[in-house]
Symmetry: C2
Subunit: 316 residues, 2 copies
Amino acid sequence: MVRLAIGIDVGGTKILGGVVDEKGMVLARARRVTPARDPEQIVRMIVSIVEELRRVAAGPYEGIGLAVPGQFDERRGSFVRIANLALMGFPFRSRLEEALGEPVRIENDTNAAALGEWRGGAGDGHKHFIYLALGTGIGAGVIVHGRLLRGAHGAAGEIGHTVVEKDGPQCPCGNRGCLEVFASGGALARRAAELAELRPDSLLATWKREGRGVTASDLFHAADQGDAPSREIVDEAVRYLAVGVNNLIELFDPTVIAIGGGMAQLGDRLLSRLAAAIRLQRPGSPDVSGRLTQARLGDDAGLVGAAAIILQRGDL
Amino acid sequence: MVRLAIGIDVGGTKILGGVVDEKGMVLARARRVTPARDPEQIVRMIVSIVEELRRVAAGPYEGIGLAVPGQFDERRGSFVRIANLALMGFPFRSRLEEALGEPVRIENDTNAAALGEWRGGAGDGHKHFIYLALGTGIGAGVIVHGRLLRGAHGAAGEIGHTVVEKDGPQCPCGNRGCLEVFASGGALARRAAELAELRPDSLLATWKREGRGVTASDLFHAADQGDAPSREIVDEAVRYLAVGVNNLIELFDPTVIAIGGGMAQLGDRLLSRLAAAIRLQRPGSPDVSGRLTQARLGDDAGLVGAAAIILQRGDL
């Protein structure tokens, strides 16, 4: 008999749901736009996704797992921190369980994506595996000994808030010189906008005058087309990312680091640059750039991982 | 019946042996000076320690564990890297097992010390615990989920070779800008010697003229006595250490980080400075400096941990 669970990835712009089997295969999908402000509306939207999935794919399901962009405090039943969703202070789990009529499991979205990629993606078969989410922010989900590392307070894997420059600029997190300040998609988008403003000779400025939006992706495009100021900014950010990857390897010694998140859409344009920067960072050390790879599940990673929490045998 | 094992810590200057029980209590001790060059002499010295321990403390012992300053390749039966001991390329385990007439287990000394402190020292009762060895070099032994993290190739926990400055100076390891280059006992000793040479007005120069050796410890002494150049060097190194501690907390989320190794002898003079530097590093973040503590087992940590590997139940 096939074991099934429902996994739901609650993001700031969209909510993705799926019926997932033990091997990480997604048998049915549903999606909604995330309601802007009202927590009760988010609950209703999740309920409607579950109802749709139940209609489409025959059960029984062993349970419902959710991936959310924050840190959920199991004891208090609410979030310690949450990004892009109006759920702070809201009794998310109890309200959901009430509305759904059954228990749910809640996991951080990066951790869930790591579990998803480990279960049925780039980390399949690896005991020591890291999913590195490069998006607006930077985070990592870490599998050690074939188990998700949550740490003592569920706060492990925060590579975006490791310090890569002792006296670096203040990060919104309160720490100084965090990797996220130098190398996140958010940081790159800011630099791209600044560059379009400050350097009228740059390709980005031209694109802006033509009415195109200016994003981190545009910055990579411009760099690839030989625009010197864009290339400088991209190279600098990638070198900071190389420091982050180096540090993950020195501390966790994984066999694979899979790049996911919004910046993963840059594909080999990011990956090949990052591999080169890692070799440059470690001129006399064994080449570890081969441990880098692309995440495979794309938008499915979070919901597959959320379902994996339900379908786990033993500790995850 | 009390379960016993023999633990041996093979260091560059001394070899420490002990009979250890399940709770990490050391029931008998023996020590030798490490033979300078000949691997066979090291083997003979270890055999003589085991013989002495057998005479002093009644068995039966469940086995013999060794802590060594290197990374031992189980498959090849020799070291991948080894510090301060002439054992590279030598079939250490097979020769030892031949000479002792029984199997031995070999573990990296920092990992062993982490196990020792976790079993019967500062990490007792903590599921997520880090032993931070600050000595000539810098390393960490990491306990996650109540289990030693070795990583895929036995190379996890290398906080000394995480990069804290992107374009920093080359480290002997081949990487650039490693924490060890800025903040190890070795780095501080070099700075102390340079300072004594370059700044004839400094307290260190005075001490040198009086014929005293100039060490990292002297540098801390001089800083405490208000010597400005010494204080500058110490403060700078401690701020790099704070970056390292911050990064360990962000990535592993442990409840306790215990400071061990040679620099731990500086006691509160190091610990209070380090706590202050961590608060300075994270001006807007929750204060995590309270997770820092002193390792408790001193020189016993390695041999207690080496014995713990033998006495473990299930995976360590």
